[in-house]
Symmetry: D2
Subunit: 310 residues, 4 copies
């Protein structure tokens, strides 16, 4: 894909993203299979050409602000997509589950989104927790991947950890990195069970930094004020777990000089392991370690701390 715009590391970027349906699902009567073209699902903003980015570098993307653009979010079921249904890959002889659309009122001031059942009068307010489902760079091996796919280039990881305050680290595969983002979620559960979160367009402010002369970042990593986080995206889900935990063992070793077996042991007793998605072309698992177990050693040459400064 051709880059949209060039960005200098250190600049604050204010941008916005469409929702994953490009705004075409507007009411509980709009069905994805009728109003959307599958080739244009999950449109991304970008790619951004990051000046100076070269293969082997690490791109640090710090999210300063992620805010729903409008007052409504939307979720749906999509035939043969989701974790509790037969799919094109987990192929079965069942009829597809019904296609339905839910509309959520978003109250930014109160910090809530309102769940409204379709078949009964049940309503409940859920915390607003805005995030981007899709954040990535161009993949290696000269591939062009659908924005529905997650992998070692990032992409559609669908982890709620990708919220404001988090820094995402991505390994650069091509000159300029070709960073893009999209798929804003007002909130989502861990696993994104039905395959669709509370989708909405987002206003997003981020800062990008380049890390050179450091070990290459093989899979996307995240950092917030309390945790170091690794990700793995693969099928079956245990392979996503294995990637995330192997990455965490490796990161701990880089920071502490622990031996392989000692790092394995420390991860075994301390990791938090929330599932991110069990619906995309690869499934994603996150592994988290509290930074306080690492004796204050700064990760990624202190990029997160630097990028958090106003």
């Amino acid at each position: 894909m051709e880059p949209l715009v060039s960005v200098r590391p250190g600049t604050v970027v204010s941008t916005w993203t469409l929702d994953c349906f490009a705004g075409r699902v507007r009411s509980t009567a709009d069905m994805v299979s009728q109003v959307c073209d599958p080739r244009f699902i999950n449109p991304q903003t970008g790619p951004f050409y990051v000046e100076g980015a070269e293969p082997g570098d690490t791109l640090a993307v710090h999210f300063r602000r992620i805010t729903p653009r409008g007052a409504r979010g939307v979720s749906t079921t999509v035939p043969l997509f989701g974790s509790l249904t037969a799919t094109h890959f987990t192929a079965m002889l069942h009829e597809p589950l019904p296609e339905r659309t839910w509309i959520y009122e978003i109250d930014r001031d109160a910090g809530v989104v309102r769940y409204d059942a379709l078949d009964s009068p049940y309503q409940v307010d859920l915390p607003l927790d805005p995030m981007h489902g899709t954040v990535g760079v161009a993949p290696a091996l000269r591939e062009v991947r659908s924005s529905l796919a997650p992998g070692d280039w990032g992409g559609n990881m669908d982890t709620p950890e990708m919220r404001a305050g988090t820094t995402c680290y991505l390994g650069v595969n091509v000159d300029g990195a070709l960073f893009s983002l999209g798929d804003g979620h007002a909130r989502q559960g861990e696993g994104e069970t039905c395959g669709v979160a509370v989708e909405c367009a987002m206003d997003t402010e981020l800062v990008i930094e380049l890390i050179k002369d450091a070990p290459p970042t093989t899979w996307p990593r995240l950092e917030d004020d309390r945790y170091l986080m690794t990700t793995g995206s693969a099928r079956p889900l245990e392979d996503a777990f294995r990637i995330a935990h192997t990455e965490l063992v490796g990161w701990v070793r880089e920071l502490t000089d622990l031996s392989r077996m000692d790092a394995y042991q420390l991860v075994s007793q301390t990791a938090l392991t929330p599932v991110a998605n069990v619906v995309d072309t690869s499934y994603t698992v996150v592994a988290k370690m509290a930074k306080r177990y690492l004796q204050g050693l700064p990760a990624m040459s202190g990029a997160h701390e630097r990028l958090c400064r106003p």
Copy 2:
């Protein structure tokens, strides 16, 4: 297995459990493969015959107190066991990873366990968070299962949610339920990556209640003051996820009368999904929903609230 002792519902039971190595691993020089007999790994306390328990009932087990008996915990690696190694099932041509043993000092007053690296001077205190890895009843179909296996009867689920303050619900398959427990962990990470937690003998106080005339409990469920939790144990890991989330959709429906698709949607936006273990004969995933999204509707006829009372 023959029952050890008979228990009347409502009685407070004070008991204790051996560690999973039956106390045979005592120093960093003790290797599991040398000091333990594989037939006697993970000894359980019980089974307890619960008076009046019949197939179709649900057993509610509330953990009042789980306290390490001694001042030390132990963890190890075991050849061809763990999530980041070839195993007897994920069979490969690699040499096994090295067998090592770690000893943790437990400070009950400070509420910490001390990690002590073997190959470098690294030390760090981790929060004490005692729990039982193995809690279960007799399985159905007249099987006798190893205490290393988790399944719909409970067993070796290895979730850190099985701590004091939690109530565990188990479906009864045989008269008397034949409840047992063991495998105390001073703490563990989510996934139990290397296959062994900080293992220790436990003093445990619990209360048991029988729930009759309710829908059968098909897979173990847990409840604490904030969350309803379901579990699934299967391979591959996505099947464990599918079970836990299908169970959560079902439980929400029982409590709210939401339609199937509405409950699927609510779970999709609210579930927390920590991995429990990716090492046992089946892998375990937990799905959690905050009780406040359920409008105060009491689960399991209010058993948890009742059992929490002094």
Copy 3:
């Protein structure tokens, strides 16, 4: 389970087995969920106590003859069982597929079974190819396993290779081995897609031999006049593949003194890999190598050749 009868190695055993429904499904109107008790599905003949069998030995079971007892076989679908449907483990929100029963006429003289469609007049004759789905010994670790489960003790592997002319090798875990068999199939496809083969009672003639002072048999192996075969039973299916192929690499090494990497290479270019079942509690894969690639080296001290003699 208590042994039924004692058998001396070398004796020809003539026995018979019930079909997996214990004869209760007799017409297209009989539905498994109505006429069968799940606790008594797949009844086995045995266990046989093999005189002299000790843990570490290998039991060689040669099938001389497997003949359908009657003139009809039966197949069915079973709700939430099979490979192209949601199941209790691959849990989903779909309604179960319909429960149906098919009756096959068996013509032993012509060597065919007749498929007869239920919803249209389509008929076709398929080759009769009788085999046993379930062949095993007592498992290790003092477990008692359902006859629906396959594993390293054998059990419900459901491979069409278990036909007359084949020798099955099983590692002995307990004194007397406690051998049993059942689940006769007039024929089945590879994978046993819907979970049920053309089930029928069988008259079976077999000879048992004990192999001592040989490397232990860790997973069931088979041999016929042309092939050495290994099996693996696990989930996900790639783990069953990994077990079977690791076993085949190991067996080739035992017979040829090839290095680990050389044996891996030879297996990579020569293995046949038919899927056995993708429906049971563990899935089974078979790996086969033509004996002519092994320069006439006899496996298992020549047990198969010996047992084939009249």
Copy 4:
């Protein structure tokens, strides 16, 4: 990718392909990781622009002849690639297995390839059975995929069924189809266990036909004189099985008008299910049904019979 050349349906195409290492591995001293650039592994011949091909059409590619170009084939192990080793996805803490290279003498007249062990004097002749590992069209959703990946567009399926005499059916996603092929194997085992077959450059003669006004081909299908074959490529391996068997049920229904459950039953008793690969980015399973069970009904409007004529 830009098309290389335009082809009119019906023309006989004589072409050739490089081996998967582009000829760079020439002796047992050449290691893939040293002599190959990972971006240029598995070079394809093509893409061919097929005149008149439109999305929704089916491309029928009949292989008339596949002949090794030279007198030697090569196989290797590649670090962190293969089915019996930790990989970048099945991530573990083991050291990689050793990297080795084997050279096979190919004797076209005798129809054999000679296996020659590296670490001992063992030699054995294996049947020559030339095939293409990679055969495909451009994928949908505007993706560009690595030639290492298999999927619903075909690609790196690595099934030994792709030999001379076989017709491969591929669904067209873009104008001109953009057909390509490569990855010639002098032979391979089912599963391609170590990840690399007996690789060699090939001279290949094929004929292409377009099938219009037929149901779309959702996953690659194959046909030879005796069998109809479907493929599925996914992880875990049971999902590849599910796709292939669901496709076979669907194909049988198209040809026979059997009901869904009747076709499921017929497939369950008749399918052959060889594993194709358990090493690529997705794993591939083939499902085969003998054409004689289908009462002579011609598949794909008789394309195979037509293309077989001289």
